[in-house]
């Protein structure tokens, strides 16, 4: 039975890291290869031993597809390819290919800072891994091999994020990765055509939420930043090098321009140029507004945002600083935070979630007295704000996408179980399709009915035509023939032709039935009586009495025999071919009623 199998190793009823195995028509694909930021040992990576236990990874997997550059979707990639040993192709979009190594390097730094190099990938590994990447364009059908093809669709969310359609023959699966159905300041909305996949695997982060417009959050953000610098405070915004940072930069840049503000804005990583370079390079991936204004002014060429030098942190007066890393793990952002934390005029804005085990997590949970190295205590007097700028589809958006793609079934990943449950019911009710939500390690098996093309022989068609029946599109009708499989092709032919082509001889299948009669006479006489009886009843049939004593009615043969143990009983053996099944049954039932009394 052909089937599609889906097993999440990550993102099954959780949002930690995405890694989903899909088998479709014998092809095995890994969707995303993410890392869990909350662990600093091997638990941060998906447990690949479930793939490797039965032989080499490269033999098992046909390809890996990465939906976008966030580490919970691509962070385990160098580990998987260089340390576990996958050396097949890895597909991602061009912007993802460009940005992925920057974020991997960024995270490598944090990991080494925490624990040293132990069991973590090196820069060389990141490079070797990136060499295995095959970059794809949107809407370009990429042939992974003769049978497996993939196609990317725009997903919004972050620069270069894509949804992927995976197709083998007539079977297909769409994986959304993370997506956003409403355009934001620098990216457009996700879009997919009515591709009617067998299965749509969709993220469900905001499965139960209808999000307010992003405008409100943006206004709120600008207001808070503005108020702080107005009263002479400093604003720290910890970010990862790419993604949210650029979005917030555009926001501030435009606001500064409009309000004619002079307070300096700095970007600390040293990656600004590079990051902005990519946004310029991949301008086609951004939204229409940015593309339109690009002619007059490149949105990513910031007038007000300058590179940060460590010395600036001590400058008096207000300023806004974007610093990495994003969760105040270590490094520059943490250093600046320590410096500014004691002043209540200052503010730190966390634009995303922070995992446990980071200073970011602590201050977001309201802790204001932080233990630092060497038993020192840092009192946080500065204001702490959390603003989510994450760009995921909300419940409405997810339903919208399901409606767009019209899948046969839906599978939810990248969300919490309880929220998924709610959305699952909603999808099942509204679209009347099955919706699944496997936990990590659970396999969902979907039977599919593949369409197999078959030919029909001309002879068979001509024979139908000869019967005077012309084919009609609206009136299907039965056509009898023999389906033969030869050279991997299916053909419907007449049975005679099938025999000929396959070099087979025709066999006859006969059914034989015993009918017991009470008759003391000799067998020949019994046979004679049967003959006369049938002859009298079956006027339209050819009934014959053969010289050997047997009786035939068409192809049906009747013989009389005497069982040795009881001379008063005779046994009639009635035998017929399956074509004459009806007549055979009729005769048997007739004879079972007994013979008419012989005229004395």
């Amino acid at each position: 039975m052909p089937e599609i199998r889906v097993t999440p190793l990550g993102a099954g009823q959780d949002v930690g890291r995405s890694c989903i195995l899909v088998s479709i028509a014998g092809k095995n694909v890994m969707l995303d290869c993410g890392m869990h930021m909350g662990f600093s040992d091997d638990r941060r990576f998906p447990d690949f031993s479930y793939i490797t236990q039965s032989g080499r990874l490269t033999d098992f997997l046909d390809c890996v597809i990465i939906s976008h550059f966030h580490l919970d979707h691509c962070g385990a990639l160098p580990y998987f390819s260089e340390m576990v040993g996958y050396d097949g192709p890895i597909y991602m979009t061009h912007p993802t290919q460009a940005i992925c190594p920057i974020l991997l390097e960024d995270y490598r730094k944090i990991a080494v800072d925490k624990k040293g190099e132990a069991n973590f990938f090196t820069s060389q590994m990141i490079k070797d891994c990136m060499k295995k990447v095959v970059a794809v364009h949107l809407h370009q059908t990429v042939q992974v091999d003769d049978e497996l093809e993939i196609k990317a669709y725009y997903a919004g969310h972050v620069l270069g994020a894509a949804m992927f359609q995976i197709k083998v023959g007539s079977e297909s699966v769409v994986y959304t990765g993370d997506y956003n159905m409403t355009p934001d300041r620098h990216l457009g909305a996700a879009w997919i055509d009515k591709c009617r996949p067998n299965l749509l695997i969709t993220e469900s982060t905001y499965a139960t939420t209808i999000r307010d417009s992003k405008r409100c959050r943006e206004r709120d953000f600008l207001k808070k930043v503005h108020e702080t610098v107005e009263r002479g405070g400093k604003v720290l915004i910890p970010v990862f090098a790419l993604g949210r940072a650029q979005e917030l930069c555009i926001l501030l840049e435009t606001f500064w321009e409009r309000m004619n503000l002079k307070v300096p804005i700095y970007f600390s990583t040293g990656l600004t140029e590079k990051a902005n370079h990519y946004y310029k390079l991949f301008i086609t991936w951004t939204n229409q507004k940015i593309r339109k204004t690009f002619v007059q002014r490149n949105m990513f060429e910031f007038k007000h945002i300058k590179a940060f030098d460590r010395a600036f942190a001590d400058n008096p007066g207000p300023m806004v600083v974007f610093a990495t890393p994003g969760m105040l793990h270590a490094g520059q952002s943490l250093q600046i935070f320590r410096k500014w934390a004691g002043n209540e005029k200052n503010m730190v804005i966390m634009p995303g979630y922070c995992v446990q085990g980071t200073v970011g997590h602590k201050i977001l949970s309201g802790q204001r007295k932080l233990e630092m190295e060497g038993r020192q205590v840092l009192e946080v007097k500065m204001q702490v704000e959390y603003m989510s700028f994450s760009a995921h589809a909300d419940a409405k958006g997810i339903m919208q996408l399901v409606g767009q793609a019209e899948p046969d079934s839906v599978l939810l990943v990248h969300g919490e179980a309880k929220k998924m449950e709610f959305l699952k019911q909603k999808i099942e009710q509204e679209f009347r399709v099955n919706c699944y939500m496997p936990a990590n390690g659970e396999t969902v098996v979907l039977p599919t009915s593949p369409s197999i093309p078959g030919g029909i022989s001309l002879g068979l068609l001509k024979r139908e035509m000869a019967q005077g029946l012309l084919p009609e599109a609206k009136k299907p009708r039965l056509l009898h023939g023999t389906l033969i499989m030869k050279d991997s092709n299916f053909r419907l032919v007449s049975s005679e032709q099938a025999l000929k082509e396959l070099g087979l001889a025709e066999h006859q299948l006969r059914f034989t039935c015993r009918v017991h009669l009470h008759d003391t006479r000799k067998e020949q006489e019994t046979a004679m009586r049967v003959y006369s009886h049938l002859k009298s009843i079956l006027k339209d049939h050819c009934v014959q009495h053969l010289p050997d004593g047997s009786v035939t009615v068409e192809s049906i043969l009747i013989q009389a025999a005497a069982p040795s143990e009881d001379p008063a009983t005779k046994v009639l053996l009635v035998s017929w071919t399956y074509q004459d099944e009806e007549l055979g049954s009729y005769l048997t039932s007739l004879l079972k009623k007994g013979l008419p009394q012989a005229p004395s």
Partner: protein, 792 residues
């Protein structure tokens, strides 16, 4: 458990026991368990429970909760298991608590059992507690083993696999305990648990349900795979199913090898060949299984009779031929697996001997030819293979890897020529994928190096001498490839080649005749930073060998343009880290090797480089700067001692100059300032490296005493003030020109050992501590984590 944790624990337990308080971060419970595991390793669990009654309350309360969260329930199961691993604690808990968690009345019978996390927690809990004989009785009394049996077929891979592991563990525990002391338990003496498990395995093996058979086989594989104990032998001998009376294990393996299809037989054959004590006949059979697919390929393509094939004289295995011909995916899969198995086998000491090097080489070359369409099929099977393999990247990758491995054994002249020919074809092919090209480069390097190692051959060896002039035009072409991956692999190949052969006249000649050095130099401006970095490394290597550009005149081979200014420019101007890191690595190598550009004025070189590096935003560049400084110190002060973590091998330096002179030089190149600043770098690895360097410097200067002591205390106040500013994270002005004595005094005033201790801990050690974890868990209570899913 420390006092602070004990103080926080009751509140945390209360939060966990309250279903209205969801645990905000899914990693917290996992980390909490990690902590309890460490605690119970050091302390008595029983004491721990008695001193912290909140734990027992939590464990007894959670299973009774109606709307308990699956995560907390699973956590409780695992925690109880951790405590019950100690026998006295087990006794303490087993009356009420353990049955309530692991018995039939526990989560097993409730709706929440449907959540895989709970089942997984149940198994992991049992796995932890099954450490002593009492645990075995508990398992038997509560029917736990039967539940584990059923969980072997669980819908969750994780649960099913853990259930299998648990069975093996229980079996080992129950058998192992008995087997110690006296020989081995026989048949009926087996402990109940073991009898039950073995009975179940036997029953499963006889089942018609394949998944059950697989589960049983998995358990057996794990059992025999890792237990070398005598009892496993008993198991083998006395089980009617396993040790069927008329067949020993070897015969069974032989039967399996002959009956299994090629896909399944391959791994088994490889396993057999890895065994040390195994009958020769079985080894031969197993090797035959591995060679069969390649034998088929050879047979299908051999033109000239008389060439030795693989497995000549044996009948062809029609099943293998069918697998090769039935479909593309089966053919590709079988060949890739076969090549991978042979690749794994070849370097092992126990690999079959004699090793059929010649026919294997022929087979791999043939496969590569089939893939690139240059093979001529000799039969219809060959024709079919041609069609299937043409352009198949997967097989190309596997074959090139194996070909590289085969370089260890070389081969007859003519065949080596063929190998180089096919490698050249692959390097030349315009449509080779970057990954295939990379592997072709790697295989070529291995063959070149092996061919030069042939006994009785001096220099590069005859093959390489003939091959190199053909190789370089191809390399040139690849350096100009539009694919950055290809340009980069070509540069990496060039670097390796020069590293090995930079001193060989033949190599130098061919290289300098070609345009490779110029092209490499041009790649210093490549748009892709990875390529620029590799170009820097390659040029650095070439330059060390005096090969980086064609000499202007043959009379003056040394008159090459210096690369130093260009590299310094990259170091100060390249916007990306990789090329700058590469420059620093090259500089370090140059300094070590006494490169002319550096040796001309080492002080100036050091001063310039350190100045540029100290401003670099990339932590690895700064760390590399410290590495360079360390080499410099080693050369001026003598090798770092064994206590230094950096055991660099340095050329014999000139006898150390008088200390004052050396310190003067260190001040002039501003090494002190560079290292002091780095000591308070916001990136820990940099600070750590600087700390090690300063310790080395301090130790090296200590024996000399302080030459200035007589002259009164030096003026180190300004240095120390600067240090304090740097420590506070301020940048401040650079230090002025200061005297060595001030530097030395400052160096001696810093608590470097203390600093090293602090830096040795991860930068998140405070946030990672159990106290911090418990505080975090308490702090998140009641805070609505609206978008916790949002990782960025």
């Amino acid at each position: 458990m420390d006092h602070e944790c004990a103080r926080l624990l009751p509140a945390v337990c209360a939060v966990l026991a309250d279903p209205r308080q969801p645990v905000a971060d899914d990693t917290c419970l996992e980390k909490l368990l990690d902590w309890f595991k460490t605690v119970t390793e050091a302390e008595s669990s029983l004491l721990l429970l008695q001193e912290n009654p909140c734990l027992l309350e939590l464990l007894s309360h959670v299973p009774t909760l109606q709307d308990v969260s699956a995560g907390v329930l699973s956590f409780s199961l695992r925690l109880a298991g951790i405590f019950a691993a100690q026998e006295d604690c087990f006794q303490y808990l087993q009356v009420e608590l353990l049955p309530g968690l692991f018995g039939a009345a526990g989560p097993l019978s409730r709706a929440v059992w449907a959540v895989p996390t709970v089942r997984s927690g149940w198994i992991q809990g049992l796995r932890s507690l099954a450490q002593h004989p009492s645990a075995l009785h508990f398992l038997a009394d509560h029917g736990a083993v039967d539940t584990v049996f059923s969980l072997q077929g669980d819908a969750s891979l994780f649960v099913a696999s853990a259930a299998g592991q648990l069975l093996v563990h229980i079996l080992a525990l129950s058998m192992g305990g008995r087997a110690e002391g006296h020989t081995c338990p026989q048949g009926d003496d087996w402990p109940t648990c073991a009898q039950k498990i073995v009975g179940h395995i036997e029953e499963s093996l006889c089942s018609t349900d394949t998944s059950r058979v697989t589960q049983a086989l998995n358990v057996l594989t794990t059992t025999f795979g890792r237990c070398q104990s005598p009892w496993t032998e008993v198991l083998w001998e006395h089980s009617p199913v396993l040790g069927s009376s008329d067949l020993g294990p070897w015969e069974m393996t032989a039967q399996a090898l002959s009956r299994l299809g090629p896909t399944q037989a391959g791994p088994l054959a490889l396993g057999v060949l890895k065994l040390h004590l195994c009958p020769q006949a079985l080894r031969t059979q197993a090797f035959g299984v591995l060679l069969q697919p390649l034998a088929c390929v050879l047979k299908a393509t051999t033109q000239a009779p008389g060439l030795p094939g693989l497995l000549d004289g044996t009948s062809e295995d029609s099943v293998v031929a069918d697998a090769l011909l039935s479909s593309k995916s089966s053919c590709v899969g079988l060949l890739c697996r076969t090549l991978a198995h042979l690749e794994e086998l070849q370097p092992l000491p126990q690999h079959p001997s004699p090793w059929p090097q010649v026919p294997l080489l022929r087979a791999v070359v043939t496969i590569l030819r089939l893939c690139d369409g240059s093979a001529v099929p000799a039969s219809s099977v060959g024709g079919c293979l041609c069609g299937t393999l043409a352009g198949c990247v997967r097989v190309q990758r596997a074959a090139l890897d194996f070909l590289g491995t085969l370089s260890q054994g070389m081969g007859p002249q003519e065949q080596v020529t063929q190998v180089f020919a096919i490698l050249l074809e692959y390097l030349e092919r315009p449509d080779s994928s970057p990954m295939v090209l990379k592997k072709a480069f790697q295989a070529t390097l291995r063959w070149l190096l092996s061919s030069a190692r042939t006994p009785g051959c001096s220099g590069l060896g005859p093959h390489a001498v003939l091959f190199l002039p053909e190789l370089f035009p191809v390399l040139q072409k690849r350096l100009c490839s539009p694919c950055w991956e290809v340009r980069d692999s070509a540069l990496e190949f060039l670097t390796q080649l020069s590293r090995h052969w930079g001193g060989q006249a033949d190599f130098r000649h061919v290289l300098l005749e070609s345009e490779v050095p110029e092209l490499t130099q041009q790649l210093l401006q490549d748009p892709e930073s990875y390529v620029r970095a590799s170009a820097v490394t390659a040029m650095g290597e070439l330059s060390s060998r005096g090969l980086h550009a064609t000499p202007t005149s043959p009379e003056q081979p040394e008159a090459q343009q210096s690369l130093l200014p260009e590299f310094l420019h990259i170091l100060s101007a390249d916007s990306e880290g990789f090329p700058r890191r590469a420059v620093m690595q090259v500089f370090t190598e140059w300094l070590r090797g006494g490169h002319a550009d550096v040796a001309r004025d080492t002080e100036r070189f050091m001063a310039t480089v350190l100045q540029v590096v100290s401003r670099d935003l990339d932590w690895e560049v700064r760390a590399q700067g410290l590495e360079l400084a360390l080499v410099f110190l080693g050369q001026t002060l003598g090798q770092p001692g064994p206590h230094c973590p950096y055991t660099v091998t340095l050329p014999k330096a000139a006898p150390p100059s008088p200390l004052t002179e050396v310190l003067g030089a260190l001040c002039r190149v501003r090494l002190f300032e560079f290292a002091f600043r780095a000591l308070f770098d916001c990136d820990r690895p940099v600070a750590q490296k600087s700390c090690d360097l300063l310790l080395f410097l301090r130790d090296k200067t200590a024996p000399y005493g302080s030459p200035w002591e007589a002259g009164g205390s030096p003026d180190s106040a300004s240095v120390e003030a600067a240090l304090q500013r740097w420590q506070a994270g301020e940048q401040g002005q650079p230090l002025g020109d200061l005297e060595p004595e001030a530097m030395l005094a400052t160096l001696r005033s810093i608590d470097l050992e203390g600093l090293r201790g602090t830096l040795a801990q991860g930068s998140d050690h405070v946030e990672k501590s159990p106290q911090s974890l418990l505080r975090d868990m308490l702090a998140t209570v009641g805070i609505l984590q609206e978008n916790q899913a949002d990782c960025y």
